[in-house]
């Protein structure tokens, strides 16, 4: 365990930046993909159920095509789903090691639910061939996939929101970090409606702009798909600013900064542009904007993700700074140990140690923070070991002074600086 703790402590500033870049990249890959899958299976189940209640070939066809759309790339669940999720677990658990924040545990539950979601999703797709015979099973599979996905990603939304709130970390003792504080609710809303909005935009894109799209759509069906997707996306986008402001209302002060607010402003602007494009898609036969809208959505998501990383950095500013400092110290020690393996203590330069550490508080002749050396050193003549011991472990001596803080000097440094002090004393006497 001692070894692990050392690993935890030696996360350098570059390492932290790298981890954050990885986290941002993985979120940007993973969340939009999962959003589309979730939205797809949700509306596929809804339309399958609608067709059962009142037979409607358009609904049934759309339900079937939606599920084909979200499963059309065989490798996607592994490459865009599971792999980024486990990378996220590794990166997050490194970044928050030793902080008392059990983020890896929470994300593991998300990953398990996501895997369950994908398995159920494929069973659901398979069950279309026996839909009429085994309808309850069919719809149960769809519902199961929806519940697994939404359950998982509600936990993810809560967890990423908890990142902004370190003061709660030691006190979360349930495996599900749900409903710990009020900021989670707007985050769930943002996530849910982002999912729906992106699903709508993706449907528009894949039906009307994608080079590999089916080109044999009859006008009735095309009109239905267009109306459904554009209205879904538009309503969801228009709900987004409500949740954004609600989020700001409940956002911890320590995670805020001018940048965070400014980026929310940019997000609002992008959402406005998107909704204008969506409206014109809805009202024209021409779907030339659906590609632009889809790209704009992904761009907005990137902006929001980067903003969350900035806010997380604000909330954890001191922790990360100290981690980087500690890593730098360990690095210097390793370098020093490597260089000085053969040559022992004498190689450390006493003058350098004095000028780096001691001058802040001592001179030879006058009192500054500590006593002038000329008045305290004489008692250590012929007793250098006691001086070295004091430098490494200062004790309270003179009630006229504050205690000397332990400067954390190594044995070799203490020896060298003691030697330097005694030489200087001899010169001056």
């Amino acid at each position: 365990m001692g070894f692990l703790e050392n690993v935890a402590l030696s996360i350098s500033a570059e390492h932290i930046t790298l981890l954050k870049a990885i986290i941002t990249l993985m979120l940007v890959i993973h969340i939009p993909y999962v959003s589309i899958v979730m939205g797809g299976v949700f509306f596929s189940s809804v339309f399958s159920a609608l067709d059962k209640r009142e037979s409607n070939p358009i609904h049934l066809r759309f339900s079937r095509e939606l599920i084909e759309l979200v499963t059309s790339k065989r490798s996607a669940p592994a490459l865009l789903g599971i792999l980024p999720l486990f990378t996220l677990i590794l990166a997050f658990s490194q970044l928050y090691q030793g902080s008392g924040f059990k983020i890896a545990n929470y994300l593991l539950i998300v990953a398990l639910l996501a895997v369950a979601g994908f398995v159920l999703l494929y069973f659901y797709k398979g069950s279309f061939s026996n839909r009429d015979r085994l309808f309850p099973l069919h719809i149960l599979l769809g519902l199961g996939a929806v519940l697994a996905f939404f359950g998982g990603y509600i936990i993810l939304a809560s967890t990423t929101s908890l990142i902004f709130f370190p003061e709660k970390w030691p006190f979360v003792n349930t495996p599900f970090p749900l409903f710990i504080y009020e900021n989670e609710i707007p985050r769930h809303g943002m996530f849910l409606f982002f999912t729906f909005a992106l699903t709508g935009a993706a449907i528009l894109y894949f039906y009307f702009s994608w080079p590999e799209r089916k080109k044999d759509l009859d006008p009735d069906y095309a009109n239905f798909v267009k109306k459904f997707a554009a209205i879904l996306a538009l309503v969801s986008v228009l709900l987004q600013p409500i949740f954004i402001c609600w989020n700001l209302l409940t956002f911890p002060d320590a995670a805020s900064s001018e940048t965070v607010f400014a980026v929310w402003g940019v997000t609002l602007f992008m959402l406005m542009i998107i909704s204008m494009f969506l409206y014109s898609s809805l009202n024209s036969a021409n779907q030339r904007f659906s590609g632009v809208v889809f790209i704009l959505f992904l761009a907005t998501f990137i902006v929001m993700t980067v903003n969350d990383q900035i806010a997380a950095g604000n909330a954890n500013f001191e922790r990360e700074k100290l981690l980087a400092k500690k890593a730098e110290e360990i690095h210097q020690q390793i370098l020093a140990a490597r260089e000085g393996r053969q040559e022992a203590a004498t190689q450390v330069d006493g003058t350098e140690v004095f000028n780096r550490i001691c001058v802040a508080c001592h001179t030879f002749d006058t009192r500054i923070v500590g006593p002038p050396y000329m008045s305290v050193l004489p008692k250590y003549v012929d007793n250098e070991d006691a001086l070295i011991e004091f430098i490494m472990n200062p004790a309270k001596i003179d009630p006229d002074y504050p205690p000397m803080p332990n400067q954390g000097v190594k044995k070799a440094e203490a020896t060298a600086v003691a030697e330097y002090l005694m030489e200087e004393l001899a010169k001056r006497q």
Binding site: P170, L248, D253, S256, G265, M276, R319, R367, Q407
Partner: protein, 170 residues
């Protein structure tokens, strides 16, 4: 035409939320951001680098309700001689010569109706960082915890301390 009307409405709608966002930003900037202090005193330097104990300056934290911000004379014990050529220390000396206390901006506070005592908490073995974060990394003090009631209660629950209303509300 229809789309012009729609775009106008959408513009107003998003503009409304943008104004609210701006309002949050201004409120945060004026009331919640780490305040600028009359002298740029750095805990990162005095605590992180020079490693002075908190109690050197916050002398009453172990024995009184209030931790107390150090009087100017405390600074001058060292700064009569230390770093006197630095701009910020010259300002400090100016206050000293004018016999004016430094008007530090308060960062942490609880409302009137709440009773809080440092002494009890330090005696119970809590570290300053439980409530104030890592000062050793702060060049300027900022409030890292909310000090909302839930914050106090969470810890009192975990540490089995009193949660009776009258403990904190006198």
């Amino acid at each position: 035409m229809k789309s012009r009307i729609f775009n106008g409405i959408v513009f107003l709608y998003f503009g409304f939320f943008a104004v609210i966002t701006l309002g949050f930003a201004v409120y945060w900037h004026d009331f919640k951001k780490a305040p600028e202090q009359p002298i740029d005193f750095s805990h990162e330097l005095h605590v992180g680098q020079l490693k002075f104990a908190c109690t050197l300056c916050h002398q009453t934290v172990e024995r009184a309700i209030s931790a107390s911000v150090p009087p100017l004379s405390k600074c001058m014990e060292c700064h009569k001689a230390v770093a006197t050529d630095k701009e910020e220390v010259k300002k400090l000396t100016q206050y000293w010569e004018n016999q004016e206390p430094i008007p530090w901006e308060k960062v942490y506070s609880v409302p009137e109706h709440v009773y809080f005592s440092h002494k009890r908490h330090i005696k119970a073995g809590l570290d300053c960082s439980n409530c104030h974060g890592e000062l050793a990394a702060q060049a300027r003090v900022r409030k890292v915890t909310t000090l909302k009631m839930g914050f106090c209660i969470d810890c009192h629950k975990a540490r089995d301390a009193s949660r009776d209303c009258y403990t904190c509300h006198k």
